[in-house]
Symmetry: C2
Subunit: 325 residues, 2 copies
């Protein structure tokens, strides 16, 4: 994979593609608000502008990329529906987008997937196909499904239409918040950070873009330095949506446009998540709290700056919160 | 009390007083956003516009009334500070407003007040004076404090400046949301509902104003019908901020301007609160969920209307949520 990245440049969207995505998905997504908190500004020593994608349709920014991919399909392609293997926010987002277009969606999930994740996908009318909890079973099940149904794969992040869709959140943030110095997004597979970095650097070359990820899943920070797609450490993280490696495509965008990638400890993520709930009165998932956690732990330095932060999502199990003993 | 209301009309603010309050408190409060939820619209069968006072300074609309009262004091009055007996959101709001003006605040609290409520007040630098958990002890402690310090009483709701301040949330809601048919606010002592009803009916006489309260604290609904300040039923409610009787002053405003008061069951309040967290991704306290609960239980009828709802606050103990077993 790393060699492929070095020898051929995978397709990435440009600003025009992100602008096209913006008009394509406008009927299907919310223009989410930009929220502020004096007390978090004081904690960090910067002016923070939070793009509240936790309030996005399906509860996460993923509705943007999935909608752009689904509504970019030709009628012929669309007829067979769409398929993916993400059991998290992308699965629900793809199910949502497919229902908006009136086509079937199939989501491949391991048999042991949490019930709440299954419900999130079923609630938008998608069909779940279960498989053994291995990478091989997931791939073979997905390929068999595509053969059976003619469904088109919509990858959670390694797809130019998905990346363009995710970039629309940053365009809105820039329009609504003049004079930002830096924009920070969490990074898992890198779809959001890629789209954000292309949008920001094309619109405002002097503005910085930063990524943030759990120290327990610091593959993007290492890939960013080495220039190769590095693998995940064998650790778990509460921000499980970010436990994904980059692709050569997303690494390409990130190496070209991103200034720094900071990490956050598990305790720091929980603390930042709780602070966001307490001070801002909003429900965010652990992944969404990772940029603030990186700022509070000082692995990214933005003192005195005007900082845009993309709050990626708000899908959490409200019966059991990470700070509760 | 009821007879006093019949023989002399207690002072109430008019629209001009609410507009004055708006400019007076502007430097000290947030202009909170108006949030929407397609899925809650579908549940209720109406278009809902939520004024997010959970995101207000101090986490509740109470910052408005307290700020207006504190900044309406003459320098002479202000010198001795302010005092109140609310241990809930008003106590914290008064502490906040006093700190903004640079004057002392004293809050009388029962010895058994929850630690989280004590912290909310102390965090803004107020002095707590504990008393025995009886009405008599509370009053005598407050009066002694006033004698000692020269502090001015700022009542949680029975005060024209406080009522004018609370009415500013409705002014903003009307400015930001054209064409509303009705505005709904929760009702405890009636400060918010009084201010809301005066603001709305003065600006748009054809628009309706409704109140909502727990069935377990249905004194306002009964007072509204009888025309007298009725007492509380001997029951507890999870929306403990609403467990307060009206005053002749607030009853006067409500009888003059309010169209209906609906009630909600305890289970309905918890359900509406959870739905608000899940669907809107915001943290609201039980009291703030009471209007939605009344709509879902059908004690208020707004089908097909454009409905403004004041989400009164977001101060909850995140270690222990009411839907958790």
């Amino acid at each position: 994979m790393a060699e492929a990245a070095a020898t051929e440049a995978p397709e990435l969207p440009d600003l025009d593609a992100i602008r096209s995505a913006q008009s394509r998905i406008a009927p299907h997504v919310h223009r989410t608000p930009v929220l502020r908190s004096q007390s978090l500004d004081d904690e960090v020593g910067a002016e923070l502008f939070f793009k509240a994608e936790n309030m996005q349709r399906t509860g996460a920014f993923k509705a943007r990329g999935a909608s752009n991919a689904v509504f970019s399909l030709s009628d012929d392609q669309a007829r067979g529906g769409v398929v993916t293997h993400s059991s998290g926010n992308h699965g629900a987002a793809l199910a949502y987008a497919a229902r908006r277009r009136g086509i079937p969606a199939f989501v491949v999930m391991p048999e042991n997937a949490a019930r709440v994740k299954q419900e999130n996908v079923r609630r938008f009318g998608a069909t779940i196909r279960f498989c053994a909890p291995t990478l091989e079973a997931r791939e073979s099940t997905r390929i068999a499904l595509q053969r059976e149904t003619g469904a088109t794969l919509v990858h959670p992040f390694d797809d130019p239409h998905v990346i363009a869709g995710q970039g629309t959140a940053a365009l809105e943030l820039l329009d609504d918040t003049p004079g930002l110095d830096v924009v920070i997004a969490p990074v898992g597979g890198g779809g959001l950070l890629s789209g954000t970095s292309i949008a920001v650097k094309s619109r405002a070359p002097a503005m910085r873009v930063m990524g943030a990820e759990p120290a327990n899943a610091d593959d993007a920070a290492r890939s960013f330095l080495s220039g190769r797609v590095e693998s995940l450490p064998p650790k778990s993280t509460i921000a499980d949506g970010l436990r994904t490696t980059l692709s050569p495509r997303t690494l390409g965008a990130i190496r070209a446009h991103v200034h720094a990638i900071g990490t956050a400890s598990e305790a720091g993520i929980v603390r930042a998540m709780l602070m966001t709930w307490e001070r801002m009165k909003i429900v965010v998932e652990p992944s969404a709290a990772v940029p603030l956690a990186a700022l509070l732990e000082g692995t990214l330095d933005v003192r005195g700056m005007r900082v845009g932060i993309i709050l990626s999502g708000g899908n959490v199990d409200l019966d059991r919160l990470p700070w509760q003993s």
